[in-house]
Symmetry: C2
């Protein structure tokens, strides 16, 4: 079924707020059998807003609006939809009571009169509750088509999609079961992944997509069939081929995130972690501490941007001198020193060249830009690996963080 | 003049690539007197693409397309425009020669035949060169309107906008000079900034916008007048009022970025920097080393997520015990220890509560969630400040990084 998104707000057009909602929802359309056709960003302007709602209703099967549901006079989504259908907005007493109550629960009673706008309804619409905000959604089914409004704040929108919109839409999309899975890889180029999974492209009922993301290359398989068991069996057949082709390069699926996974593994084993970062300059620590509760397993570490800093943090200077700062030996020594200096069970040491400039090792061999050495020390040993990432500073650093976290997860598993 | 953007590519609709181009350009429209009216994302589909190009051409004064200029068969922007104008695409011999030459310069001769698509032209269009890629742009002026194509890769698009499109458009927008300036603040809420600059809202010929960004609150002033000197004088009057109202809360303007600024200041004074990070967990190091060439002034530091790690990195444990881990004294001690341990001239120490949980200090006083202490040690002293940031983990951490870098810049200036 053809679906389109209308994202509403002058701040989106002016580039003051980046619209990330449309992209988030668009990526979830295929899972429920919707084909994304258009995304339109429009300002808080009744004429233009009504124009696009009308056009969307005529050309698509499913129309989702995002934003413009607030209480102020420039929140015009409800007005535009009412105008388009030629219906009048009246205050819904149940909604009004619910709004009053949620204001009073938050100690904000009496509710500002203006908020009554959010209790407005038209005859064609039913209410979908929004437990995270004061903007309930409208759900309209007419002439075999669906129009639904969603709140603009991403947290509210995501919750609304997951708990209400996706299940409702899925239940109404006829005659097709769709299942999908994302496979996340590291260490291969987009072209290489594309070639290696070539065979899967030809499978009946399977759609494949290959995407370059900051933390590696992703492959999405979507299986379509008449029934859920049939779709699942197709997806499993595709997964077998994809895993056969990509093997160890796959590090995770779907929503898995390396910092969260590393945290779970460390907590389960009651291990403490320390890091020693050179080329990533603190990014690994930053990624790990981005997870709330990381102080349960993360003790800290060192950012060692010079040889002197590495030695100050406990690395044996003679190793650096002998093997060079960009070497497996130095990475391993950094990982071990991180454990010792900071009293941790596991350590990550990372050293490499984030730029695309080549460097010379002490033995005269050339080390290419984008080469990164990652050492992981754990209670029963040290694992060290050499990587070569695409040589643009930001990409090298991002991929190195993912690789380090995955190598750590592998080592403690 | 009314302007709209069409961003082209199925990957944008599917959420595989986040469209950041439209937002980037949209934020630059007001500077040259364009009013953003619509942004449409559309897939690589000739029918839908032609439909939106046609609609845009009829309803707007300026239409910018982004993307779909590559050499493959699903790059359809040229085809859609040609179809809309009813013109035929022919190979432009000059463009073809330029393409051949740029392939040969990169050692990729002979050029794949398919790339000749990028040398296609229609009678209504002239070429705008794209020195960073193989996709030249079209520029079409007809019936008092303008349509231009731009390449999709952000680096190429930004260069094309800055060097070609913005000056060309500005020269054609009649009778109005527009100048703008962005003021970047930290330490105030959006509502507080809005109130403090209230007087400026009423100034003739000035438009004001207040925006919450991850690193603080921004204020944009746009001055419009008949001539450039008049616009400049209006902008300067607005700037005086804004600076009068916001004073020390303003830390920079326009494209200024704290990590770059700190780097310049450190380099000019030949100072070395070390950090000791608790609640930011490596983010300051990460931000500093994001700048190429940061190894000239950054030596490294410690991520100290526990008391033991702080002591291991050189902080006097009795200070932490006496004043508490969240205190000005500990932040100052961390900054000083960072200098000593890593042999730097300047040090940043940062400790605080990234979550919204309140904590107790050793003397029993309550420390609120979002409270952060930042110490800066420099050759002639130590400055330490206490901040309170809006208490959502990601926001607290981002604001704390900006505050720390600004405090450092202030101290060494």
């Amino acid at each position: 079924m053809k679906a389109e998104i209308i994202a509403i707000g002058t701040e989106l057009l002016m580039g003051e707020t980046q619209d990330t909602n449309s992209s988030w929802i668009g990526s979830r359309f295929p899972e429920i059998g919707l084909e994304p056709q258009w995304v339109t960003l429009v300002g808080d302007d009744l004429t233009r807003l009504t124009d696009i709602v009308d056009r969307a209703w005529r050309r698509s099967d499913v129309v989702l609006t995002i934003g413009g549901l607030g209480p102020t006079l420039d929140d015009l989504t409800r007005d535009a939809i009412a105008k388009m259908f030629g219906e009048e907005i009246t205050t819904d007493p149940d909604l009004a009571a619910w709004l009053e109550e949620s204001f009073s629960r938050r100690g904000m009673s009496p509710m500002p009169q203006q908020n009554l706008r959010q209790a407005g309804m038209i005859p064609s619409a039913i209410t979908v509750p929004n437990p995270l905000g004061t903007a309930p959604s409208w759900w309209i089914e007419r002439d075999g088509k669906i129009l639904a409004t969603m709140p603009g704040p991403p947290r509210e929108m995501m919750n609304m999609w997951t708990t209400e919109m996706a299940p409702r839409l899925k239940a109404r999309i006829p005659g097709q079961a769709i299942m999908s899975r994302m496979f996340k890889t590291i260490g291969l180029s987009e072209a290489a992944v594309d070639e290696m999974v070539g065979e899967v492209y030809d499978m009946d009922g399977v759609e494949l997509g290959v995407y370059a993301k900051p933390d590696g290359i992703y492959v999405r398989a979507i299986a379509k069939a008449d029934t859920e068991p049939a779709a699942l069996s197709t997806l499993m057949a595709a997964e077998e081929k994809i895993r056969g082709a990509l093997g160890e390069y796959i590090w995770g699926t779907d929503e898995e995130e390396p910092p969260v996974r590393v945290g779970e593994l460390l907590k389960a084993r009651n291990y403490k972690l320390a890091v020693m970062e050179s080329c990533t300059g603190g990014m690994i620590g930053s990624a790990i501490t981005d997870v709330a509760g990381s102080s349960d397993y993360f003790v800290g570490g060192a950012i060692t941007y010079t040889v002197a800093a590495k030695i100050a943090a406990g690395v044996d200077g003679s190793i650096i001198e002998k093997f060079g700062v960009y070497s497996k030996e130095t990475a391993a020594a950094m990982a071990v020193a991180a454990c010792k200096t900071y009293g941790a069970d596991c350590g990550v040491g990372i050293t490499g060249i984030a730029s695309n400039a080549d460097e010379k090792a002490p033995d005269g061999t050339e080390i290419k830009g984008g080469t990164v050495f990652i050492g992981v020390a754990h209670p029963t040993g040290v694992v060290v690996e050499q990587y070569r990432f695409p040589s643009r500073r930001a990409l090298v650093r991002n991929r190195a963080v993912t690789a380090a976290l995955l190598q750590l997860a592998q080592a403690i598993k």
